[in-house]
Amino acid sequence: MALHASTYEPKTRFGKWMDERLPIGRLMHTQFVDFPTPRNLNYWWTFGGILTFFLVAQIVTGVVLAMHYQPSAAEAFDSVEAIRRDVNYGWLMRNLHAVGASMFFLAAYIHIFRGLYYGSYKSPREVLWIIGVLIFLTMMATAFMGYSLPWGQMSFWAVTVITNLFSSLDSIYKGLGTAIVEWLWGGYAVSGVTLNRFYSLHYLLPFVIAGLVGLHLWALHLVGQNSPTGLDIKTPADAVPMHPYATSKDAVGMFAFLILFAWFVFFLPDYLGHPDNYTPANPMVTPPHIVPEWYFLPYYAILRAIPSKLFGVIAMFSSIAVLFFVPWLDTSRVRSTKYRPIYRWFFWLFVFTCLALGYLGSKPPEETYVFWARIFTAYYFAHFLIVLPIVGLLEKPRPLPGSITEAVLGKGAAAPPAPARATAAAKVKV
């Protein structure tokens, strides 16, 4: 952080008094106003801010919904309907929350692919990446429990199927899986007891995510942001202060994303869900075609691709767990895929694989679909376990620019004298 001298100067007497006791203003100013951000960040870097917005939005709308929701098997379904029909603006709160979950995952996936493309997991950002994967896991748990709350048919059977994943442990130690599943259910089957505990945890986990996000930001601001070149900030010329440069770019990306969000909220609120979830939960009848929400489809395809209960479950969990090891599986000396002519093809093949698994996960478990799900599942793991280590060793990267500034302004342009230091830039009006 040698480049990072704070220009914070409290202006009021109260500000000075506070600064000597709890320098929170200095912290915010240093980390979110003066903080040096690479001058070449593109719009893929706006998704961190978008994700923060969605976490806050989900908590706020969730707190509102909790004021009207009844977490009991008898009343849950009707209370959600009452929210949609009777509660003032309840339709809006419910749509914001339900669509918000989808948008949260969409933004998270873009954020993760961005990290994979630009090598944002590579040293010294391994811990930053691992915390990110933990956030992703917690998000998945939160979304799953949230999906159970409307207590419709899809809710009920999603809970049944996902909790039953643990019953596969019975084949390792007899009775272990059953004991765990009954512990999760609080009974011999999914019931209102299960719903009640899921509701409690669904309220708790977002705050765990918020804590992890704090750690994620801490780790990020300690080592600084990666950039499209994968180069570090070497001179002050490589960086601009976060405010107003990165913040205004973030705002543009955020508003663009919010337009998409609003379009779904106001015009297609149920498009991303399933009609079956508007049938009240019935423990006697499973819907004919049961699929998870779109953001879980690739994992669902992996689960069904393996013709063994235990190994299907192991494969599904491994598809996330493998992300933890990416910093060490990638042997390339270059971060950004922009300079990796061979790996670049594999990266897009991997993106295609994930989309294909998503499509296959939405299809019924029939021959052709399962066949292709197996092919793509194989590549999913091969990408991490074979491609990442081997391509990194064999590939000759393209020449890197000398610095971020050179990447932006070209080699001929001598680095201009400190183009945008925080203090000077803030005063400039054009």
Partner: protein
């Protein structure tokens, strides 16, 4: 593009502040105003969701059969989630209520929802003409919302023979007017009517 030139010149003192507002000033102001107004508008649904919904607001009225209530007895019925006192007053209680000089009362408003607020708090204005033996009031103390005692026969009725709030000792007279203690207002008389001599419609 002149903006680029100015950015490169950033270290030099750029004394534009005193000049005409620039295009950028306008854009910043417009963007901030847009966000401020948008934020304020977006806030309203989050506040309004806590208000009673249309179902709760719908004017709910109830009908009460008062034929079993003998002179000196009282019943309490639930209307819009609130207790409503209905007392069949004795001639002595009516006489006591009528004898009070309105000027001496702490609250001289009849607090009758069917009448303007300035109506004096006479016994006539708190009951229905021809049905003076009946008093109908929302049984919620105007101090801090407890339910006063005085409906059951064994209850303490306070110094004025009407109702006594057990929470902080507010005394109401036989017309439900505050006479002593911390409560500021007389008990509220809801809108009601006699459908027949023995049937009451509240709300």
């Amino acid at each position: 593009m002149r903006s680029a030139a100015l950015f490169l010149d950033a270290e030099a003192p750029v004394a534009i502040d005193a000049e005409e507002p620039t295009r950028r000033d306008f854009i910043i102001l417009a963007a901030n105003a847009f966000v401020a107004v948008g934020g304020a508008v977006a806030l309203w649904p989050f506040i309004d969701q806590m208000n009673p919904d249309a179902g709760a607001l719908a004017l709910a009225s109830i009908e009460v059969d008062i034929s079993p209530v003998k002179v000196g007895q009282a019943i309490t019925v639930l209307w819009r989630g609130k207790p409503v006192f209905i007392r069949h007053r004795t001639p002595e209680e009516i006489a006591a209520a009528k004898a009070v000089d309105v000027a001496e009362l702490r609250d001289d408003s009849a607090r009758n929802d069917a009448l303007p607020e300035t109506t004096p708090a006479t016994d006539e204005n708190r009951t229905k003409k021809g049905h003076e033996e009946w008093i109908v009031m929302v049984g919620i103390c105007t101090h801090l919302g407890c339910i006063p005692k005085g409906q059951a026969l064994g209850d303490k009725r306070g110094d004025y023979g009407g109702w006594l709030c057990p929470c902080h000792g507010s005394h109401y007279d036989t017309a439900g007017r505050i006479r002593k203690g911390p409560a500021p207002r007389n008990l509220e008389v809801p809108v009601y009517e006699f459908l027949t001599d023995t049937k009451l419609k509240i709300g």
